[in-house]
Symmetry: D2
Subunit: 350 residues, 4 copies
């Protein structure tokens, strides 16, 4: 039984295990005041124009989201998100637990559009009866594995600045988005520096690109950055052994190791998507990164599940479901081939 | 420069690194639905009388505290804690962030007494103008490294049950407390089962006894246990790769490995304390586990800090400070000896 | 300039002013422990089968909503509401400020349907990643002035009980809903007793039916009722001179005075609606209580606003807007006639 | 049976009832956008140097406190208060419900001292593990009826500005404090302008000086003032018929009516205190405003309670209790005389 369930099935890339081993008996300062954390901060800053940019580390994605939003908003502010956004649906009310409304906007292929954004913003001008629509949340790649192009991001960023709203990017799969942009001849090769210019605060997730856990939180906007580590502490997000977070990113950032790992995941997904389409099966959204959403008959899904684990994302009314298949840095090409072969066999039988 | 700063300077015991290595390319289910988590739950349950007891895993101590308290209290409830308690002073308002008042009670050697508890409870009966004093928080070992005896715990537990209050125990250093009870001929040899009988909810911390991070959360009281993992998720405390938490505890629980590690830490602290006292220096509280609090002249502290890192816990008015020295599973006996020798030299010079 | 802006333009019915005058130098106990409060509680209980039902008083509608929801839900619970519901759009994030997600469901004429409810409930079963959909919020009359029939309410109530969810009814304009049911030959004549049977908690607003301010909060479900006045206090909703709340309701409940006042308001709205339709103007939703929503050209609205104040509820794309006109216990019939005459003149000119 | 229980036993001064009557059928805009509110704002501004100062209206004291604190602090901030402060003990966790820690400081006669303040501030510098001590709360008069002199207030204000902390004054009985300063030859005659200079935000309560309910909230500090009415709305503190709040203050502010009423209350308390002391009974704190705290044998209290209602504030260990007697604008001198006579009789019998 092989898992295409998600990109966090395997714990960590071997290089990270090795680095963990090499460091395990050294003494380090706690709570992010250590040398690893300083080195990774310097490494990031070297890619950016602002030597004073605030850089912190988080442990889980939901926590990164809730801490960033808690630090960003005043109590009377809400944050706009796609109706498919992670903070809107899959964080068990974590944002509301910080006292903030997630204002829903319509999405297209998992992405926020300027039209949807504008509609929502206008509706929130009936002061003092409504929350202020003060920030915009996007995830990149999106929950549906689609990737914002540079021009799409720039348009949202410009819109936010024009209307005095913050732009916040959830980067649980930002590595996959960057790798996707590099592989796409029609898009700019995106970098950390680009996101730092376009957003007010964003994070870059390790868990889904080969780390055991952890995120780098980058805060270009000075107004949000003040005393950010107290926000982390307040939500239980300050690890005693914080050096373990930085240690892993040092491995992933070295020689852009993460890009190589994400490129593999994306390539496997592309191969999977093409194999699926070759069997006459339609995709629900374009496969732009390491996730494939395919419209499959429920009976077919049942058959495939004898050999592979994956999510039946949503049941539709017509006997079909949306199946989600996720690849990772650790996905063997052989398993992709096996899946496609099984699918070919199953669909030709029909 | 050697650190007696804390017990989380070194990342993890070698056996944990090995276990991490062995597992790193296997595929596991996410969010605590994996086999490691199941095995550790079974291992704990085997020691308890209740096969249905809820057992979860947390990532940091502050998070464990805030999640437990959020799950335990209704909005109108407060929780009583010592004025030295971790939730009262050193969690950056994490408990208040969940909407709850931490009601302060006086402490003696870092411990809560029945007298202090009763005084506070009576004061909170002026309904509807005050919060309900619905729960009691203790940490064991305490912030000052002291250890509750079985009889002290039993008295607090009985008091709570009599007054329909929950008893919650923070076990950031519970391993050290258990090891201390085993080394103390006047106390019962405490076990997980004892705490499960005496409390309504408690946690058992890994970070300070050789794990990279992580806590086991044990909830004997059924009323609190319902849907506890949603509380974890809501606060960003549900790790995608949750199996990493359980994997570490499997190592520590095997053959009571943790007891051996904690016994080492306590023994080193005892030796340190005796060495300090032999130089005519008084302790601030008895050294019962792996922390030593000593009353030292500030000039002496400055001298010692040329060779050792440790906390100047509190400056007093008389030119003295309370110095805190912490030992761990990884503390070499040689460093304890070196410290005492340096102290002897420094104090004989005076 | 006459206001059809809302039903809280005039402060209070003369009988209430008189009662206020009569009582103003007497001494009363504070915080709802007075004789007025007791008498009103007894008056309500006499209409219900449960002599132990919890009855409290609130000050504003938003506060009543947030206090009820805070008392009803555990931290991991969300509450389902129509996308047009007051708690969903017009309470400046008051519900999120208590830590709870308002889960949006589609509405039809401002009402929640079983279909919409079911869709949302099913989507919230992906534990532990989503909030529990534990309660359902409706307002009656709705934000659009429509009224739930007994059968509609019964269906929602049954659905909630089947799925172990609470039903919460916001009664900011419940008087108008009751009066509407009494005037409607196709509906049951609704009473407080009916709502107490169908819901778990609901409130009955005074502000919009002749009181200066105030609500009666009625809690049939015992699980929610415990220590409810601490919830009020916690949110600043416990008035020192709480007897002023009860005093007003005593006047309104005497001989069902409130029904007479609400009947007047509804009748004025009906006359207004018919007058509007007679000018060839369509209503946006049926006028079932004391609010009229009409689809008017924006130029016509501008003309009418020279003589009357009312809300331009929403601008549409086609040069039309939804105009909202609200009547009250104090609306003189003459003003309704004047409005219709002006409208006839303005529309015949076109 | 006459009540010295509190200063909110009687609903409102006759002039307010008259004003309520005069206005009750006029139409007003809702939510504080009416002419009464504008007039009262202008009246206050005319006494101050800042024509742009933000002025709002609240409904209850606990609500005023929680809304001000919610608007003043960022999530990581706490507020320092006396251990006897209203927000510290008698608001059922209302401040914690907004996510903020109330940091306790020792009090002297119900007042905060610079020494106590400094001790607490220093203790809260252990970043990022503690909340920021960002604001200071005082009430004036205090919970014990004592009054801050101008010099005491100035010292606290200077301290706060030096350490970049906000000073917030709860004025539930500010009228009594002002009247007390005017009657005291050793103190400055205080005015609204003085408080506006010394604090960052404060409120002036109507409930305890002859209004039915209501407070004026005055915000000299611009950083706190932004969008304050959304904070009120968010906590259910924005009254539909907000003009009722302003209408009452218009009466009380006219020709400083409130000063006359508060002066009466204070004078009655002074007479009561002197009568009590003349019977050989000691006061717990000096009687500086309209509250008298006296140390009485519990048996004596029982006797007095046959004829008068008042609070037994706290039972002491020696058979004595602290009795609290409160006078108001409505207290007849005859009742004070009756009480003293009864006391004389009871104590001479002993």
């Amino acid at each position: 039984m092989f898992h295409f369930l998600n990109d966090y099935s395997e714990s960590a890339h071997p290089d990270i295990i090795t680095a963990m081993h090499d460091a395990h008996l050294q003494q380090h300062k706690g709570y992010g005041f250590d040398e690893y954390s300083e080195r990774v901060r310097d490494q990031i800053k070297a890619q950016l124009s602002d030597p004073d940019i605030a850089i912190h580390f988080g442990i889980t994605g939901t926590q990164a989201n809730l801490v960033c939003i808690d630090a960003m908003l005043t109590p009377i502010d809400g944050i706009i998100a796609c109706d498919t956004g992670h903070i809107a649906v899959n964080e068990a009310g974590a944002i509301e637990a910080t006292g903030h409304k997630v204002i829903l906007a319509e999405s297209k292929d998992g992405k926020l559009t300027i039209e949807a954004l504008d509609k929502v913003r206008v509706r929130h001008s009936f002061t003092p009866h409504v929350v202020r629509a003060k920030a915009v949340y996007i995830s990149n790649t999106t929950e549906l594995g689609t990737v914002y192009s540079y021009h799409e991001l720039k348009a949202i960023s410009d819109y936010c600045r024009k209307h005095d709203m913050y732009l916040f990017m959830d980067g649980a799969r930002l590595g996959a988005a960057i790798a996707s942009s590099h592989a796409n001849p029609n898009d700019k090769d995106m970098s950390i520096a680009d996101y730092a210019q376009l957003t007010d605060i964003f994070w870059f997730g390790g868990t889904k690109m080969g780390a055991m856990f952890g995120e780098i939180l980058i805060i270009p906007n000075k107004k949000i950055a003040t005393d950010f580590n107290i926000y982390l502490k307040r939500h239980g997000g300050l690890m005693a052994k914080g050096y373990l977070l930085a240690l892993q990113f040092e491995v992933l950032l070295k020689d852009n190791k993460y890009l190589e790992l994400c490129h593999h995941a994306n390539t496997m997904a592309k191969k999977l998507a093409e194999g699926i389409q070759s069997c006459g099966i339609e995709l629900f959204v374009p496969a732009q990164s390491n996730q494939v959403f395919a419209l499959m008959p429920q009976a077919l899904i049942a058959t495939l599940k004898n050999d592979f684990e994956f999510y039946e994302w949503e049941q539709l009314d017509n006997g079909f479901s949306i199946a989600r298949l996720v690849t990772s840095w650790a996905t063997p090409e052989m398993q992709v081939d096996r899946f496609v072969q099984l699918l070919q066999k199953a669909t030709s039988n029909n």
